[in-house]
Symmetry: C2
């Protein structure tokens, strides 16, 4: 790595190191929760200085792909009971995080992806998707209606995992069962009238204002892995965002 690079695809050394680490994480060489080699070892392996490896790791940490602990080491991000998914923005009225809790009735359907779904998920024509529906509870009362859309080929049998527990997080399942790490989401919010199918299960009137959240979630490689729409009765909770 000592020769000078100048080509059009030039990038700083630490970014090249970051890219290599990213590829190994994406390929499952290190799995969520695994410890990475120390800065010194990585520096030796890549023939760069420890400071260069450090800068690569700091960027990965800023993107929540790894977690660093002084005295312990650097670990691939793992979600679970201890480490909740950080990109979940619903809060109770008194600004507490919402504990994940569902009513246990998960339904699903398998079908051909619509053109819009294919575009958003990057799927070829004729691909199948799984659409999963469930209801989230806030303080015991049904308040949110989830519709989750996944590529069937990427997550075969996904819906079965959701039926096993009433508080499973879909991103934890993706991680533990399919080795797919959710990294980033884009969300679009609007206010819409409650539809009959929501009124039925959420104990609201048809037409009552609901917060609608359209979300696309991306994996380590930057490709979309999930589409989700959530309809929320915001009587008892809010969507929180801190922006700087």
């Amino acid at each position: 790595m000592s020769e000078t690079l100048q080509g059009p695809d030039f990038s700083p050394l630490y970014r090249q190191v970051k890219e290599l680490l990213l590829q190994r994480i994406a390929a499952g060489h290190w799995k969520p929760g695994d410890i990475l080699p120390s800065e010194t070892k990585l520096a030796g392996e890549f023939n760069v200085s420890q400071g260069t490896v450090r800068k690569a790791l700091e960027e990965l940490a800023a993107e929540h792909l790894v977690v660093r602990h002084q005295g312990k080491g650097t670990f691939v991000t793992a979600r679970g009971a201890e480490q909740p998914v950080h990109f979940f923005s619903m809060m109770t009225a008194d600004h507490q995080r919402l504990p994940p809790r569902f009513n246990g009735k998960v339904t699903h359907e398998v079908g051909l992806a619509t053109p819009a779904e294919r575009r958003s998920l990057g799927l070829p024509e004729g691909a199948d998707v799984v659409r999963i529906f469930r209801v989230r509870l806030v303080g015991g009362t049904p308040s949110m209606f989830d519709e989750i859309i996944l590529a069937r080929a990427q997550f075969p049998g996904f819906e079965q995992h959701l039926n096993r527990d009433d508080q499973v997080n879909t991103y934890v399942i993706m991680e533990k069962e399919y080795g797919v790490l959710a990294v980033r989401s884009e969300e679009w919010l609007s206010a819409v009238p409650a539809e009959p199918r929501h009124a039925e299960v959420l104990n609201v009137e048809v037409g009552q204002p609901m917060l609608k959240i359209d979300r696309v979630t991306y994996g380590v490689d930057g490709k979309p892995i999930e589409l989700r729409t959530v309809w929320v009765d915001t009587t008892d909770c809010h969507y929180y965002n801190s922006v700087s």
Copy 2:
């Protein structure tokens, strides 16, 4: 700065440097748009290494308090036509930024702050607030209703600045007229039925779903400077958020 600090209020050198720079910006020693001394000069002044100053500046840049340009220098963040406020999350239906445009009819009232307003703004009992009301246009049609609440003592005559132009940004006014830099916002979103006062000016039916955004904005010193509630008709626009 060579003696070892160990006390309960210990903080790394680069954070102390950052704090000093922050204080100077907050005090108006450097104003928005001003260039800061180079890393080398700051390092000399503070008797630390250039790398330590760099780390302080990088943190300030990450928080959008300064902007760095290779070959030119480091500048205090300035908002305006060129550099729009980055924490404005409403997008048109086709994912474009909304140009700021108001209908020009700004109304306001001055009154005693309510207990809730005092708590949110950190005001003493008996303090006055100004409440400003205006309507934002999306593609020419009125779509958003703003209620802006400010401490009267901090921003005397603020409402007059809003009447001068139909596309002024309140944070630009705070910066240019009062030397107050808005740095961070917290927002809470919910869906609510349109009230009569909104229906009247936004051309919607009473009861129609509206996106309600409650926002608190903080200044350089971390103290709240503005309360705002925005009611949005999300027919033609969405609230966008990218979360990682």
